[in-house]
């Protein structure tokens, strides 16, 4: 949570909803896979050319992996969203923080998506699209029921405030 923050990313009177901690598990699995995949060519080369030290080249990646595994938990904890009367707030990031505010009336459409691993762990991503490509209002790590509720809610609020572009 933004405890040591000077409040910049914590507007007054906003009750943040956190995303599911299962998102951290999913992201850890993804990170693990992407790093381990790179171990394969190293091992192949090491075996084929009989130069076992080649595997050591993977070590920096291993260090990065450990770092990722630690950081992912905190990153997921930093993710939050809040539905206000007129707009949706999405907050993310530890090192590079961002807070996106999207008025419901500007919403063009809402996406709900879930990959295979996401589905296995029971989470989904809700993404709000406006007419601007710059709007990055995606909320990952929502339980499917909450994702659907949010989608319907955003859609209905958007409709009530709809005003073209």
């Amino acid at each position: 949570m933004a405890a040591r923050d000077d409040g910049v990313f914590d507007p007054e009177g906003v009750a943040w909803t956190r995303v599911s901690p299962r998102l951290a598990t999913v992201r850890r699995i993804g990170s693990l896979i992407s790093h381990l995949v790179l171990l394969v060519p190293a091992v192949v080369v090491a075996v084929a050319t009989d130069t076992p030290w080649v595997v050591l080249l993977w070590l920096p990646l291993a260090a990065h992996l450990v770092l990722r595994l630690v950081v992912i938990g905190r990153q997921v904890a930093a993710l939050g969203y809040a539905e206000r009367e007129d707009d949706l707030l999405v907050r993310r990031g530890l090192l590079f923080r961002s807070l996106v505010v999207v008025p419901y009336g500007r919403m063009q459409y809402v996406d709900v998506s879930a990959g295979p691993v996401d589905r296995r762990f029971g989470i989904a991503t809700v993404q709000l699209h406006t007419a601007s490509a710059g709007t990055d209002a995606s909320i990952p790590g929502l339980p499917p029921a909450e994702a659907e509720r949010l989608r319907d809610r955003l859609a209905s609020r958007g409709e009530a405030r709809l005003a073209g572009l």
Binding site: V100, T135, A163
Partner: protein, 585 residues
Amino acid sequence: MTTPDPAPRPAPAPAPGDPRGAGPVEEAPEADGTWKRMHPVTPLVRGWAVLAVLLFFVLQQGGGDLLPFGGDEGGPPREYVGVALLIQLGLLGVGALLIAAWSYVTWRVTRFRVGDEVVELRTGVLNRQHRRVRLDRLQAVDVVQPLVARLTGLSELKLEVAGGSGSDVSLAYLRSAEAQRLRRTLLARAAGVRVEEGQEAPEAPEREVLQVPVDRLVGSMLRSGWTVAVALVVVAAVVAVVATGSPGFLVGGLPAAFGVAAGLWGSFSRGFGFRIAASPDGLRLRHGLTETRAQTVPPGRVQAIRLSQPLLWRGPDWWTMQMDVAGYASASSEDAGKATVLLPVGTREEAVRVLSLVVPDPGVDDAAAVLGAGLTGTGTAAGWVDAPRSSRWLDPVAWRRNGFRVTRTALLCRRGRLTRQLDVVPHERTQSLSLEQGPLQRRLGVATVVAHATPGPVTPRVDHLAAPAAAALLAEQSHRAATARRSAGPERWMTALAAEQGAGTPDPSAGGAPVPTTGEEPAGPPAAPADAAAAAPEGAAEGGATTTDLDAGATPPAVDPSLERPGDHHGWARPDGRPGTPEGP
């Protein structure tokens, strides 16, 4: 998705010449016109390049093969050459026939239909496409004439709608007169004016705002960074040649020189004869030397504006303006570069005039001072909020310029010390906002606020504001962005006024004569309701600015105060008509 029609149409006044009366606006969006085809010459105009290449090939081959006929030393036997030539010509002929057949079929299946609510376009031979565009979602209408089309008296009519790439509807090619007529009809219908089938939509009156003289266009190009770069390269090359005595350096620079020349020619050709006019239909831009383009951007469709001034334009105090229009983002990048220029080069006074046209209500009392500080100023003059001194580590050159000013109607962001920039975003056009902070920024206690506009050249943002100021801006701006739209005008810009007038409807028949084709001011009475509407409190109060002024000009029965108003409406200029004076360092 149905558009809430904010202007319930009153019962149509019985008018002569209109037996049917005005139908309801919210009919099923069916195009009820007849299917029409493009002009038959279209394939030739589209494929003239292919044709030229083919012709060139034939002539070259033919010529090359015919030449050896004269002497028979070393060449292949006569009859052999003749047969080869015949085969070649035959193949070419078959190819040409195939292409011609394909072009004919493509032309044959491409049909369009214009209804009251929608335009439909059918294209494609193998992959058929049937596109239907709602007219109230029209973002801009362009009439484009490439050189070949101009020679043949044809035009392309482009209907821009917001959407992904390739979402525009291109009707190419039509007879120029037909394209103009269709443009008028579409704009009138998009505005909510009902045009009966077979009835001619009137041309909305327009008032010319400014022209860009050719000498200034050339001057602006001479003062561009490109020219300086070219001069430096030439000097370097000459020095190198003189020093080494070998002309190789000059030859080496040729491709670069060609590239620069092409770029310069492109911007000259685009900006040539640039004219801006105001009409109830919105902004009219006309420009182009070889390829001419006449753009119409209806009221409220400009999402954001950027004024910028390269270093060398400071002497004459010239500015260039770009705009974000949702429809133009979907055009190809090359096309978008042509369409998003609001003013290629203009004096500050002209830039202010154009700005006043697009954002008529500055939303502040001392607009000229605010604008002056935004264009050239630094610090906190005229109510600007600037970046703190600590941000000099992140932006050593321009940190003093970074800043913003919020007025009742728009957000202004300024930046850039060498190339000065000022972005103006009406509140009701802000799509979303974000606050961003990297680790360095956090150490220095600053943060960046980004306003998201529709895709385009203008990307408004304020870098490195003091963190509390940034948070405050985000809070205030998100509130404004969410609420400003409530008072904004309707998608069909002419319906607003009709609703306010009560008696009138946007139906041209109800108002007797439709909008006249000339801009002359009618005497007395008709002007009164329009003035009243322009002064109506709602809409003018907050956010509705973009639409208020032009809407006021959109009264069906003839008036158009917008054509007269800028005289008594100062916009962003000083009351005495002078733009803000520079307040630079």
